[in-house]
Amino acid sequence: MNAVWSSLGSYLLAFAVWPGLLLAAPLGWLELWFMRKLVARLQGRQGPPFFQPFFDFMKLLGKETVIPRGVNRGIFLALPVVSVAAVTAALAIVPLPGNPAPSLPGDVVLLLYLMEVPILCEVLAGYVSRSIYGQVAAMREALLSLAYNLPFLVAIIAMAQEAGSFQMSTLQAAPYGLVHLLAAVTFLLALPARMKLNPFSIANAEHEIVADSHIEYSGPPLALFKLSHAVELVLLTELFAVVFIPATPWPLVNLLVYLAAGVAVLGGVTLLATATARLRLTQAFRFYWVWGGLASAVTLAATLVR
């Protein structure tokens, strides 16, 4: 009984403090600021002040929530909460150095499932809001997720196949090889679309459909969606670092290397986002099914060859 309580406590700790909400939120804001600043500097602009994402969040917390007429209140308000909870729970599973939560067999499956929840929430948010624009955004998001999830899931599953286990800690400790490299490329291919960044920012195309599927959200629920996005950035970059960057025996060094790798990945996708224009949905689809499919096939083949 005691063991159950203590492991529950460590999960709670992982969820609430590190790598959960208390530390991931500032980290997410930092990464958000880094991306916005980098975009601005690449465009020759000054860019936002350092605390900008924090100010945005606090301001939204202090605003009124307008709920559109004819919308189901409960679902409307629950979606952002579920979204934040799911990404944070997913982050709590990632074996970052200092994560108090014990690693479970099969937690990769749980992680992949939890990572789909915010996307689901976004799609539902678009449909629930009863706004035409929100529904178009939701449709685009849902369709796009069918495309980018192919390389994304294959990259992780190939790593699981390589490590011979669906446990995050084994994935992290798997001996470095060719599959790591191939899977990393496949993962990076899916990343811009997962982060809704430029060539694939089809679901949040503010010039075409006004805003993303949060179009009808305001005040604290919108703040939670923004927070969920920030934590998702941390989740994606740190997941990449944990799975694909070779670990050293020293946890502190690992942590620094992971954070640096996360920032480097963000810098790369931001550079791509600034240098490119938005694709159409069909083009993005074709890209992911052709090139993403090809990369996935090569990666899977490499795991089988060995």
């Binding site: 465009q43 020759g44 936002p48 945005d56 301001k59 202090g62 605003k63 009124e64 009808e216 305001s218």
Partner: protein, 159 residues
């Protein structure tokens, strides 16, 4: 005022999200908003973000001559902006109707008679720096809780 309220008040000044509303403008004023996003003026240095939907906005920039039909639209959009909110009137048109005043489909009255205006930016069209100045003033009013809608709601709560 406790700490959280203070932080929120500061955030209101540091993160003014704007949404623009063309109430029948000749487009001159709207064109002058575009340079705000360009490298030279870069409104993002003040935390300004341009949003397409009133639900995300703190400040509504209203430009153009008020017409009989845009009156309803202005009221509708204004009602959708979550509190606390501010209104910035761009150019001469919202203040009086400018050269269009007196034509049959134009309201020919001040925007203040439709929604409470917090900042007037003169010009036809105003220069980008004047618009930026107007946004900064409105953001300061939001921090101080001194926009007309904030004062109104406080009065409503007291009575």
């Amino acid at each position: 005022m406790n700490l959280i309220e203070r932080v929120i008040a500061i955030s209101r000044r540091r993160s003014p999200w704007i949404c623009r509303l063309n109430a029948g403008s000749c487009n001159g004023c709207d064109i002058e908003i575009t340079p705000l996003l360009s490298p030279r003026y870069d409104a993002e240095q003040l935390g300004v973000e341009l949003h397409g939907t009133p639900k995300h906005a703190d400040i509504v920039l209203i430009s153009g001559t008020l017409t009989l039909r845009s009156r309803e639209a202005i009221l509708d959009i204004y009602a959708q902006v979550p509190n606390p909110k501010a209104v910035v009137a761009l150019g001469s048109c919202p203040a009086s109707g400018n050269v269009f005043a007196g034509s049959p489909l134009v309201l020919s009255e001040s925007l203040d008679s439709v929604v409470p205006v917090d900042v007037w930016v003169p010009g036809c069209p105003p220069r980008p720096q004047a618009i930026l100045d107007g946004i900064a003033r409105a953001a300061k009013l939001l921090e101080d809780g001194a926009t007309k809608s904030q004062l109104e709601s406080r009065r409503g709560r007291l009575s």
